[in-house]
Amino acid sequence: MKSTRILMGMPITIEILDSDDEGVIESVFAYFTHIDETFSTYKDTSEISAINAGRIAPESASAEMRAVFALAEQTRQETDGYFNIWRGDRYDPAGIVKGLAIAHAADMLRLANCANFYVDAGGDIEAVGRNAEGQFWRVGIRNPFDIRQIVKVLAISDCGLATSGTYIRGQHVYNPHAPGQPITDIVSLTVIGPDVYEADRFATAAFAMGRYGIMFIEQLADFEGYMIDAGGQATPTSGFRRYVIS
């Protein structure tokens, strides 16, 4: 069973192999809708917009919002400030909410006894179990210079994968240590980690570090990465090849 909806401004795809229960997929999409309505900075009615407009103080926000802020602060400290939801004039937690939401969606599916599935929101993926051929899920990394193509084929299972990149404008790429300076030396950074929440937050932080981000990922135990620079050269971390098919 495979279904795609456009939510949170991006295509969200859920494929489940061991269930035909559409109610399960519906409840997951409903959850993403809820996340969008709470955390979307594009919606004036969202809770995050209320915080940014000064109508709510972060300390008085919902428990869910406060939990996200707490996780964002933890990530900020773990990444030497390269991850920061404060953009100078407003909060934008997109870099952590997406991974958190996908990971939670995967938890919902596990609780519904699904064992072979993936959840893909705008290219950030939690993959569980095996695909229809009984193999690890096959993931392609998009070519930043021609997004109709892929430049790497990976096989993953029971982990999360996230890619940060700049090749479409409107992309929120932000270096808290040099705001206003666009990141131009790298165009794509894919991170594989224990789950998509972890992969997403570190992909976001590492991308803000430019070409040094791949070294940051290299230093992290349990994470591998693949960086593509503006010249079309790719640098994998030393253990990345365990995921590579081609």
Binding site: T45, I125, R142, V151, R169
Partner: protein
């Protein structure tokens, strides 16, 4: 009468030889070490790499993650659909309103309008199957220019790099930068409008 030089060098000469050879070895080694150190300091950029504050297993304490996910409002999914009050439409947004959730689309392929992104145009094709979106692909895409200058690789002293190569294998899913640009949403929206009955 010529005096033959003794076949064995004098002790002094032997000592001088021995020490000069040792000195040569030591100096060469020292010069090499200095040379390597100079190379390393040229890679001063490496010192800028933020050191991960985390050296142990990175996962956040399970309790915190579990708490956050619980708080996100989902009760365990039972056999019947979960009752989450997802309010409909009427949300102000800078992006075009998200397309309606449930399958009101006619099967077929629909091409969206050309939309202007920063590096070029975006045009999206949506494939509807069984009333649902089964595929979203790009007919036109922003052309991010590849720079001709080789980006310094010296900053990654022991990671090897490779030129990217297009792959032709089939995959289940593709990962790339989040496709949340306004242009993408606009083109997709127009494709879905065409698909609605």
């Amino acid at each position: 009468m010529s005096q033959r030089k003794s076949s064995r060098p004098s002790p002094l000469l032997r000592a001088v030889k021995k020490y000069s050879v040792s000195a040569f070895v030591v100096c060469s080694f020292g010069a090499y070490a200095v040379h390597e150190r100079l190379l390393a300091t040229d890679v001063s950029a490496v010192n800028q790499v933020p050191v991960a504050a985390v050296t142990r297993q990175v996962s956040a304490p399970p309790a915190l993650i579990a708490q956050a996910r619980q708080i996100a409002g989902a009760a365990p999914v039972a056999s019947k659909p979960m009752q989450i009050a997802a309010s409909k439409a009427n949300v102000a947004t800078a992006l075009p309103p998200a397309a309606a959730a449930l399958g009101t689309y006619k099967d077929g392929e629909y091409t969206g309008a050309l939309a202007d992104a920063y590096y070029g145009n975006v045009q999206v094709k949506a494939v509807i199957h069984g009333g649902q979106i089964s595929d979203v692909s790009f007919l036109s895409f922003p052309n991010h220019r590849r720079t001709s200058v080789r980006i310094n690789t010296y900053a990654m002293p022991y990671l090897t790099s490779e030129a990217i190569q297009v792959q032709s294998a089939n995959v289940n899913v593709i990962s790339g930068a989040t496709l949340t640009s306004e242009a993408f949403a606009q083109s997709l929206q127009s494709a879905l409008e065409a698909a609605k009955s």
